[in-house]
């Protein structure tokens, strides 16, 4: 390794010179470089990593563009489908980026490619660091490093596909997955009636979760040909088989980076449990792909769904994650008019200005045709390049950063924990040996004392933490209650004046239930984020210096979920079920295939579970699920109460319904409060565990530093010289790793830049770049 190489590397982080952050990063890296001794480093990993770093960074910006460019295609003003401004260009640069796969592979979106690559590179940093930790570090550091790796490796990016039946959701999923023959059954008349998830697995494994005759939740393995028998209306009419979810794991290369696609039953449907479960899950999803088509304009129930989804998106600040798609554009000569109509309605329903709203006209058919024909015109018509970019932009907006950020934080914290003792020892062996020895020993002893204090069960921070978390709970509960008040205000002011609801109180109940379920899901998602914030703040406040307060501009890394505590958990579940009691029977009677209160937990659980890396784990699913089960049970009780209203006059009906529903709000409030409290309680346990683990890691580090200082004290001058050379090697290795971590953090930061809405066409593309869009988007001012 010569100086020339090093000099070359100074150009490394130069991803985007216009970004102020790059300057910072450059500075940081130069600092690191200055500190690094010019001694030879023969470590194999090191060399490999450097070469990777050089090549990869060169690849990131083949044309000086950020990697997050999404260029959705749109119709040209003359009614023809406009030339795909982004399509071939993106495809080309992906190919130039070294993707050796031929044909349609080149179409893979920039974002997917960028995330895939980054993820691979971050994962590649784990083995050398694990090896170094095993050599230099302690147990806790090793365990934490392992957790961080697992969470990235198993992390999921969830995109939920929603839309009314027959709008082409399943075709869209097949086209996104490039599955030919299709994975998702596509039928001309029937629709998906069970929540289906698809994610990566080395071998295909399909599991259906269903309720057996005795009401127990069981899992069954099926093969591909059997899917239709569970998820379609023709194969499983009115869900007679009582399927809750179908989980597909398949070795599809589009899914390797952790992408999980969720197919939902048609919205506003009669499968109320699934509607409620979807509503509860939506706030935790990373992207919502809303599908409509050119065959029919948007309907009331679709708009009602969107209004509801939008409410949650605003609360969790995920408006950018909402993607609107107009499918089947291949079927008509010109979709301009319908596109305009749909954009207008979407704007009204979502409250977004029409010029900030992107509706992507796509053709799944053309995409699938392209797989066979390879004709670029098919790809162009499909507009899938833009769709994939948009989906990935939405995923990159938060979760991709959370995933990468979590892993990078873990790496950085581990590298620091190794570096500290090494640096200490090196300093102690330096020119001003006695002075440094004394200072460092004192410093680490003091630190150890402080950490011991923190570790103590009676330490003040624990009380503070409890106070902070109870503050979070209060806030979330207030948020949920406000939401509930809003729901009921709407019932009183609008729903009760609509004949549709007066004639079908059952439908009003399911609408209200879905809204409350969504409040519950929102509370859960917010709790997860608050937990992450609390951990960061407490780490900073208590001087847990190994974990950088914030790495780059990436979001707070999520708090790891704790493994469920089997015994007590089961008991609580049993109690909860008892609490819900008779409602289960009522629910089962209310609609064919309705899952009872106890089983709904399994449904939400599988939805929330799909990976270790998601902020929410399985048991949170169970908590939400049980609260949701309670909600659904409550609903069922009212179905019968409202049935008697049928013959009454309009005003009479309204008053009767108002009276009948009056106690429901109280009960919902109770379920929401309990749900929020339980979720917070679980997060509190996780937060405490995480902070304890961080303290343990710091203690390890301090202890190791003191041991090293002791040995430095003993060393002779000659030994010291030799030892310093050794230490330089170790430092170089760790610094090199940190260099890579810093560079990758930089890139992760740049994965997605929030759109800057200037009101001009072409600036509102999610993840887009104003200069990159030639104004051919589906938006109208």
């Amino acid at each position: 390794m010569d100086g020339g190489r090093w000099l070359d590397m100074s150009a490394l982080p130069d991803v985007d010179p216009d970004e102020a952050v790059s300057e910072e990063a450059l500075h940081r890296l130069r600092e690191l470089l200055r500190e690094t001794a010019a001694s030879p480093i023969d470590d194999e990993n090191w060399g490999r990593m450097l070469s990777v770093a050089l090549d990869e960074t060169a690849e990131t910006a083949p044309d000086g563009s950020a990697p997050d460019r999404a260029v959705p295609d749109g119709p040209a003003g003359d009614g023809t489908h406009g030339a795909t401004a982004g399509g071939p260009a993106v495809g080309d640069s992906a190919a130039a980026g070294g993707d050796p796969a031929p044909g349609h592979r080149a179409a893979t979106g920039h974002h997917a490619a960028a995330f895939d690559r980054l993820r691979g590179e971050v994962l590649a940093l784990f083995p050398p660091l694990t090896e170094a930790t095993a050599r230099l570090g302690g147990e806790e550091a090793l365990a934490r490093l392992d957790t961080a790796r697992e969470r990235l490796d198993g992390g999921r990016l969830t995109a939920v596909v929603c839309g009314e039946f027959n709008r082409g959701k399943s075709s869209l999923l097949n086209a996104l997955l490039e599955e030919e023959p299709p994975l998702f059954p596509v039928e001309t008349s029937y629709t998906t009636n069970v929540v289906t998830t698809v994610s990566y697995g080395p071998v295909e494994r399909i599991t259906v979760t269903l309720e057996d005759d005795s009401g127990e939740v069981v899992e069954r393995e099926i093969d591909r040909s059997e899917i239709a028998g569970y998820v379609t209306e023709s194969g499983n009419t009115a869900n007679a088989r009582r399927a809750l979810t179908v989980q597909i794991r398949t070795p599809n290369t589009r899914l390797t980076s952790g992408l999980t696609l969720v197919d939902t039953p048609g919205i506003g449907g009669v499968h109320q449990d699934h509607t409620a479960a979807t509503a509860a899950f939506l706030p935790s999803a990373d992207a919502l792909v809303f599908v409509t088509d050119v065959v029919k304009p948007l309907t009331d129930s679709e708009l009602a769904f969107l209004r509801r989804a939008m409410k949650a998106a605003r609360t969790t600040d995920d408006v950018d994650g909402q993607i609107f798609v107009l499918t089947k554009i291949d079927a008509v000569a010109d979709h301009t008019e319908l596109l305009r109509n749909t954009v207008g309605k979407l704007a009204e329903a979502t409250g977004l200005p029409p010029d900030e709203l992107t509706l992507l006209p796509v053709s799944s058919r053309a995409r699938l045709d392209h797989l066979v024909s390879g004709d670029p015109e098919d790809l162009e018509l499909s507009n899938f390049t833009a769709l994939e970019n948009t989906v990935w932009a939405a995923l990159s907006r938060r979760r991709a950063k959370v995933l990468l950020g979590g892993a990078l934080t873990g790496l950085e914290s581990c590298a620091l924990s190794l570096l500290r003792p090494v640096e200490a020892e090196a300093a102690a062996l330096g020119d001003r040996r006695e002075e440094e020895l004394h200072r460092l020993t004192e410093e680490f002893t003091e630190q150890q004392r402080r950490l011991e204090e923190l570790d103590d069960g009676g330490s003040r921070w624990r009380a503070d933490l409890r106070a902070a978390l109870s503050g979070v709970e209060t806030r979330l509960r207030r948020e949920a209650r406000n939401g509930l008040a809003e729901v009921w205000a709407q019932v009183g002011a609008e729903h009760l004046y609509q004949e549709v609801y007066l004639d079908n109180p059952d439908r009003l109940l399911s609408e209200v239930t879905a809204q409350v379920a969504q409040l519950l899901g929102t509370a859960n998602e917010l709790a997860a984020r608050e937990a992450a914030r609390v951990v960061r703040e407490f780490s900073t406040y208590n001087g847990l210096s190994l974990t950088p307060a914030r790495i780059g501009r990436l979001p707070d890394p999520p708090v790891p979920a704790l493994p469920p505590v089997a015994g007590t958990q089961q008991k609580e579940d049993a109690e909860r079920r008892k609490l819900m009691g008779s409602s289960v029977g009522l629910a089962a009677g209310s609609s064919a295939g309705a899952a009872g209160g106890a089983t709904i937990g399994a449904l939400v659980g599988t939805l929330l579970m799909p990976g270790l890396g998601t902020a929410t784990g399985a048991q949170w699913g169970a908590y939400i699920g049980s609260a949701l089960g309670g909600l659904l049970g409550t609903r069922a009780g009212y179905v019968n109460a409202t049935k008697t209203l049928e013959k009454e006059q309009l005003t009479g009906k309204r008053d009767a319904l108002r009276r009948a529903l009056a106690p429901l709000r109280k009960e919902q409030e109770r379920h929401l409060d309990n749900g929020t409290a339980e979720v917070i309680q679980e997060w509190s346990r996780a937060v405490v565990a995480e902070l304890d683990s961080r303290i343990a890691q710091e203690r390890e580090t301090a202890a190791r530093a003191l041991v090293r200082l002791d040995s430095a004290r003993e060393a002779t001058a000659r030994e010291a010289l030799a030892r310093r050379a050794e230490l330089d090697g170790e430092r170089a290795l760790l610094d090199g790793l940190r260099l890579r971590i810093a560079a990758l953090t930089e890139e992760a930061d740049l994965l997605y830049v929030p759109p800057r809405h200037s009101g001009e066409p072409g600036t509102a593309v999610p993840g887009g770049d104003a200069t990159a869009v030639p104004g051919e988007n589906a938006r109208y001012g």
Binding site: P297, T299, D300, A333
Partner: protein, 541 residues
């Protein structure tokens, strides 16, 4: 067991055969005579209303969700473009289309203004949504309903009522629009339900599927007090099947399969007599097809079918891009695609390739394939042939509520008054017991709701003998129109023997046995009608 002795006279004194309608008219007249004097004024008015409804032509309302293709279907059934259609939700007002010698358009207003005549070509202006034009909206919202008379022979047997959707964009939230409109989405919905409930029969339109939302539609329709949703008075149309193409090479056949499944697996049989798949765009395209279109189709049919399909599959490009291998220019291609849709274009070219290159022939074939001819036939047979019975059935129900007029608050009714009202109502409601046609109706209802199980052949026999395919004895016996009395008689007796066997077959259960007796009685009446010419072979019964 009924025998010939109990047959009510079906002929007048002069020997002229009396029809159901004649007997019903007589019953109405008797009822009216029972209600003299001012105290029965309200009842008389009501009775007259009910009688007028009975006398009026059968009214068939086309209902379904927004953009299910109702107006396209109406146009397809008419064979001419009358209802405005478009890709976005369009129909705002209810239009009745009826047969008239001369074209006329009458506007009925909701604000009590007297109705007025308008030029028929103004229909589009008065029906179509105009979200961006406040003036026109003000005009639209003042309209209650529109009455369009057109000289169209397809309306000979019944009137068609085109309605806005049952699920409207003007839904819950768009309060601004609503205030602006001064007419809520609820109103549009209500107008549809009202007109549908005033209809004698329904065509329920389902856009290429019957799933959750359609279940809800049914819920809505049944919940909204439409009495007509049952197989006797409801026929379904499965529309937009042309969108099955190109996923299915033959979307009409696929439409048939889907319709079958919906009727059997999804319980469509409980509410629909039949569900006919209709490619509406193909039908309207065929009706509007010009010589110019045919010429272009013939040109396009000269290129290879696979190339043509590949090009048409990319709809927007087919309509806008220059391709050296396509012999027709973009503008004309776009016109063809708009008129016939992708499937229609490919199908028409295939037909042209097979030599069908004359306008009339192509038009006829496309119409046949679209399914609209079949739907028209079902409507004529099922509604047209039974129109009197269907309307009388409605009249019977409405008359049975006549005595309730005396229960109005503030009206101190004498028991005698009440009795007279009951007597008058009875004149009509009694027909339900005395007219065999009602027994047949009841039988058909039991077949549709599944309480009587018949073989498909038996069902078709029952439909036939009860007049589904025509009123004449020959039509009721599936014989040529010119069949002589003796062949009619032997056919009737043959059928009757089968049903006697069914009656005696203990394994088929009591309900079926009773059904069989009803059918035997139908043949009895038919034999009666064929006349005294027949000689009944002895020992047959």
């Amino acid at each position: 067991m009924l025998t010939g002795r109990h047959v009510r006279p079906t002929s007048g004194e002069d020997g002229v055969r009396l029809t159901l309608r004649d007997r019903a008219e007589a019953a109405f007249a008797r009822g009216e005579t029972l209600l003299p004097g001012p105290e029965f004024h309200r009842a008389r008015v009501r009775l007259t209303e009910i009688r007028e409804r009975f006398r009026a032509r059968l009214r068939v309302a086309v209902v379904g969700r927004v953009s299910a293709g109702k107006s396209t279907l109406v146009n397809a059934l008419l064979g001419e473009e009358r209802s405005p259609t478009g890709v976005t939700e369009l129909t705002f007002n209810v239009t009745r289309l009826r047969h008239a010698e001369r074209e006329s358009l009458t506007v009925h207003y909701r604000d009590g203004r007297p109705s007025g005549q308008r030029a028929p070509d103004e229909l589009g202006r008065l029906v179509a949504q105009a979200r961006h034009d406040p003036e026109r909206l003000a005009e639209l919202r003042a309209v209650d309903w529109l009455d369009l008379g057109i000289p169209n022979r397809r309306l000979a047997r019944f009137d068609l009522v085109d309605t806005p959707g049952l699920d409207s964009y003007f839904g819950e939230e768009s309060a601004r629009t609503l205030r602006f409109l001064g007419r809520t989405g609820q109103d549009v919905h209500t107008a549809t339900v009202e007109h549908a409930s005033r209809a004698d029969a329904l065509v329920m339109v389902f856009a290429s599927g019957l799933a959750e939302s359609e279940e809800r539609l049914l819920e809505e329709v049944t919940g909204a007090g439409l009495r007509a949703v049952e197989p006797m008075t409801s026929v379904g149309a499965l529309t937009k099947i042309e969108y099955y193409w190109p996923a299915c090479p033959d979307p009409v056949a696929e439409g048939g399969r889907v319709a079958d499944r919906l009727m059997t697996a999804s319980g469509g049989r409980r509410i629909l007599f039949e569900l006919v798949p209709v490619a509406g765009l193909l039908a309207t395209g065929a009706a509007a097809c010009t010589e110019r279109d045919v010429a272009d189709l013939v040109e396009l049919s000269r290129i290879s079918p696979s190339l043509l399909e590949a090009r048409v599959r990319r709809g927007p490009y087919f309509a806008s891009r220059d391709y050296a291998d396509l012999p027709v220019g973009t503008e004309r291609r776009a016109a063809l695609l708009r008129r016939f849709g992708g499937y229609g274009t490919v199908l028409a070219c295939a037909l042209a390739r097979d030599g069908l290159t004359d306008l009339a022939g192509l038009r006829e074939e496309l119409l046949r394939r679209s399914g609209v001819v079949r739907l028209g036939r079902v409507l004529t047979e099922h509604f047209g042939n039974r129109a009197d019975l269907v309307k009388l059935d409605a009249a019977v129900q409405e008359m049975s509520e006549l005595p309730a007029l005396s229960d109005l608050p503030g009206q101190d009714t004498e028991p005698w008054t009440r009795w007279r009202l009951e007597e008058a109502a009875d004149q009509i409601t009694r027909l339900r017991l005395t007219e065999h046609a009602f027994r047949e109706l009841a039988l058909l209802r039991r077949v549709y709701d599944g309480s009587v199980v018949l073989t498909p052949q038996e069902l078709s026999q029952v439909l036939r003998v009860t007049g589904e395919y025509g009123d004449s004895p020959a039509a009721r016996l599936a014989l040529p129109a010119d069949s002589g009395p003796s062949s009619l008689v032997s056919a009737a007796l043959r059928e009757q023997r089968h049903w006697a066997g069914v009656d005696l077959d203990a394994a088929r259960g009591a309900a079926t046995a009773e059904a069989a007796r009803t059918v035997r009685r139908s043949y009895d009446l038919l034999l009666n009608r064929i006349g005294p010419v027949y000689e009944r072979p002895g020992g047959d019964e």
